[in-house]
């Protein structure tokens, strides 16, 4: 019942939201809905057994069932989704949007799609939600984005749509290979494919997921889209939506095609590590805060992609842990960037400086978030990154060594950003006022608390991951 609630609450409230007239009621309604979802998600953490899965007839002729269930990884990601939305809504509560009812409606529909992706235990249902998450995001970016939003968002849409369609072909192929013609995860985990088939179908799925993550060289849509999308949507895209790709690899790709995943691991890891270094180097050269964070996100995702394919328990555990951590951290960074942009009207390093003097609290929060972004000890990313680097090193010392360069580069660009924006000379004396709204401060405090909590005491999260990791590792071996 719980996964159904997680999907239905945002879906229904999202549809209702379109019919709300006033801006205030739309905002409050969306916040209320997301808090309700959060409550359900928190309850799910303490549940086990039947309440976590639902299975109903949906398309009997196709052999697809409405089958949703939460395992450890599902709980972590639905929790990430459930936590992020109220924080995003609350932190950007003061932002003005034209036709706010539609904005919040689309946001909630995106949430429903994301929840569905993380719960689905039927490949066809998974595909359905995968697309459901994309369409509202497309509208959000195209209608409320920046100046160049239309072509940029369209590129994003065509990339991901193409990926989805290739995946659809793959889905159909594996469907006809299952003995009982079904999309159920249990049948798909026991596929018997020939060497050639497996290698071929692997790529159909991988490209879809790689575009979503994004892994080099499929990343070109990402920086532009992050830059042009309204910041609240960028938070959703970078905090949660890119995790869909990572999640899908662990949930579907590795267990369905264990042989091909092992054979292709070298190629994927070389791509991923190349992407890490490449994105980090570009990040250093950026003059725009949003673009810098976007490239740093590519680097982080690259590490996740690399360590998933090591096929080791610590690698996959690290990825699952890091998915949550990265989501929290990057949303924190975006919130600060949004405050700066809303108040000062610019995101350019060349026009910013010395903000710490005007907003010391914001500066402290941002510094902590930045430390989390470079995975210093005591922040939540440390545990995940450590596990991941460990697994990559065990796989190949050369790749591990190259990947480690990105740690240094991450420190370079992140600290440079902190230094430039918050310290140094005060730029533009005339725009001295920087009022950080109380709700934003509060949300940042919550995020910082989460960062520190899981940095100091990661055990509950590790426990949640272990269930999934054992299952996946057993499947791969």
């Amino acid at each position: 019942m719980i996964p159904v609630l997680l999907i239905v609450i945002p879906l229904v409230t999202g549809l209702i939201s379109f019919f709300l007239k006033e801006e205030r009621s739309a905002k409050a309604f969306a916040l209320l809905s997301s808090v309700a979802t959060l409550a359900v998600s928190l309850i799910s953490l303490f549940q086990s057994g039947d309440s976590l899965s639902t299975d109903a007839s949906w398309l009997p002729m196709l052999g697809s069932r409405f089958s949703v269930s939460l395992d450890g990884m599902g709980k972590i990601l639905t929790l990430l989704t459930a936590v992020s939305f109220p924080i995003i809504f609350a932190a950007t509560y003061n932002n003005k949007y034209k036709s706010p009812n539609a904005f919040y409606g689309f946001m909630l529909l995106t949430q429903a799609g994301l929840m569905g992706v993380f719960c689905a235990m039927d490949l066809f249902l998974f595909y359905f939600f995968w697309e459901l998450a994309l369409i509202p995001a497309y509208f959000l970016c195209s209608k409320w984005g920046g100046e160049k939003r239309i072509p940029v968002t369209f590129k994003f849409f065509v990339y991901t749509f193409l990926g989805s369609l290739l995946m659809l072909v793959g889905i159909l192929f594996v469907y006809f290979k299952t003995p009982d013609h079904s999309f159920a995860i249990s049948s798909l985990y026991n596929l018997a494919l020939t060497y050639g088939e497996e290698s071929f179908i692997f790529w159909l799925f991988f490209i879809a997921f790689a575009i979503k993550m994004p892994v080099f060289p499929f990343h070109t849509w990402q920086p532009d889209t992050y830059e042009q999308a309204p910041t609240a949507v960028t938070m959703v895209l970078s905090g949660i939506m890119v995790k869909m790709g990572v999640f899908a690899v662990i949930r579907w790709l590795l267990p369905m095609f264990p042989g091909a995943s092992e054979r292709m691991a070298d190629i994927v890891m070389i791509l991923a590590v190349t992407g890490m270094i490449y994105a980090s180097l570009i990040a250093i050269r950026q003059d725009d805060m949003k673009r810098l964070v976007a490239y740093s996100s590519i680097a982080h995702i690259g590490l996740m992609a690399a360590s998933m394919f090591t096929g080791s328990a610590s690698g996959i555990q690290g990825v699952i842990f890091q998915m949550f951590a990265h989501g929290i951290n990057i949303i924190g960074l975006w919130i600060v960037i949004d405050v700066i942009e809303q108040q000062l009207g610019t995101r350019k390093f060349s026009e910013l400086g010395g903000l710490a003097q005007k907003a010391p609290v914001l500066a402290i929060m941002f510094v902590i978030m930045s430390f989390a972004n470079i995975a210093l000890p005591l922040t939540n990313s440390f545990v995940g990154e450590f596990l991941m680097f460990n697994s990559v090193f065990n796989y190949s010392i050369v790749l591990g060594a190259v990947a480690c360069i990105s740690i240094i580069l991450a420190a370079v660009y992140t600290l440079w950003m902190v230094q430039k924006v918050f310290y140094g000379e005060v730029a533009n004396e005339d725009r001295v006022v920087l009022n950080v709204p109380i709700n934003t401060q509060l949300m940042l405090a919550v995020l910082v608390a989460v960062v520190l909590f899981f940095g100091i005491y990661p055990q509950p999260m590790i426990n949640l991951t272990s269930e999934t990791v054992t299952k996946i590792i057993a499947q791969i071996k």
Partner: protein, 456 residues
Amino acid sequence: MNTIILSAIFGVVMMFSGIFIHNRSAYKNISSAALLLLLVFNIFESQGSSLFNINTTNFLHFNKFGLLFNSICIFSTLIYVMLSGREIEKAGNNTAEAHALIFFVLCGIGIVTSYTNLLMLFIGIEILSIPLYILTGSDKKNLKGNEAALKYFLMGSFSTGIMLMGIAMLYGSGGTFMLENVVKNGIVSYLSALGMVLIFIALCFKVSAAPFHFWTPDVYDGAPAVITSFMATVVKVAGFAAFIRLIEGRLGSMGSQTDRLIAIVIILTLAFGNLTAVFQQSVKRMLAYSSIAQAGFMLFSLFAVNDAAKEGLLLYAAAYSLATIGIFAVLAKMDDMTLEGFNGLSKSQPLIAALLAIFLLSLAGIPLTAGFFAKFYMLSAVVKTGKYLGLVIIGVLFAAVSAYYYFKVIQAMYFKDGNVVLAPVTARFKYLLLFVAALIVVLGVYPNALLSFLYF
């Protein structure tokens, strides 16, 4: 049988009503009522109760598939007449005759969905085509319309000739017109192979599959928008019903050569339709090319010819017809049929813009719309055969291309500013459009709503 006879009778009734009734807006209502009756009787027949008990000496065979296909065509026509009735009045001076011709087209559809004899195929195709030549030129004072009608007529006659030639060759080799006997199992003579290929070409022409599509953009663009709407939807999908019966009946026994032939036609059709649609500035012309592209997708059913393919074709027929009729109904009310003409429609007509967006999403095959399941069934039918997986991949690549031009219209409506000039729309029009969109969404969540008719 009900459909064939009743539609002929209703056609004549419509013609005479032109003499006795002079209130032009009444025709639309008479026609709608007659279509509704036709639909009801067709459904009765699919439940096993025919009004007429005529011995067709096995020239016609009525099965669930054909009758459901009729139902879809009649229903689409009903929606079409109700949505675009006013535009039919404007398209020419002889409104009653236009309605009568539409009924004759339906009569032809009834034949081509049930033939078992090549002569009946020929007669059906002719009954279907000739009213269309007239309808295309129904706006007599429009030069482009006249050109289109003449072009259509000449090209159509050619293809009919080719078909007759093919039928004659098959008769020459097999000594019969019956579909099941024209090619003896296992023995394919050159004469019969050539005959089959000629019929294949003629039908490719009718459904505007490349490389026999050259008439389509000009005719669809030249004809009044309201007539194009009918031609591009109901008539086109009926062509596929005829086609799949032919392939199912005989061509399938001719082996891998047929597969290769159909695969080439599919790739050409998809490539030409999609790539050209991308560059169109006029939405009407874009829809003409997109109808070629959609035909490419429907051709997948001919490649696969299995149950999934037939279910897919039914879904495709419904999804594609309803969505396209909906778009054309709005398009026919616009002065400026270019992309710029759609700029800012979401501001002045939020409901209509939202419904149009649903239709376009359905054509692009986005989940939660009927178009998605239509494409899904088609692709799954081909994957099921286990042949040419590459063909499926080419198919989805072009589906991604098609998203490009459909989304351009959505972008214009939602993300750009402008003043749309739209003829006044009644509340009834809006509700009807809403109903069509609702149907598309229902089929997009639960396609069995339609397909279960096949089995009950």
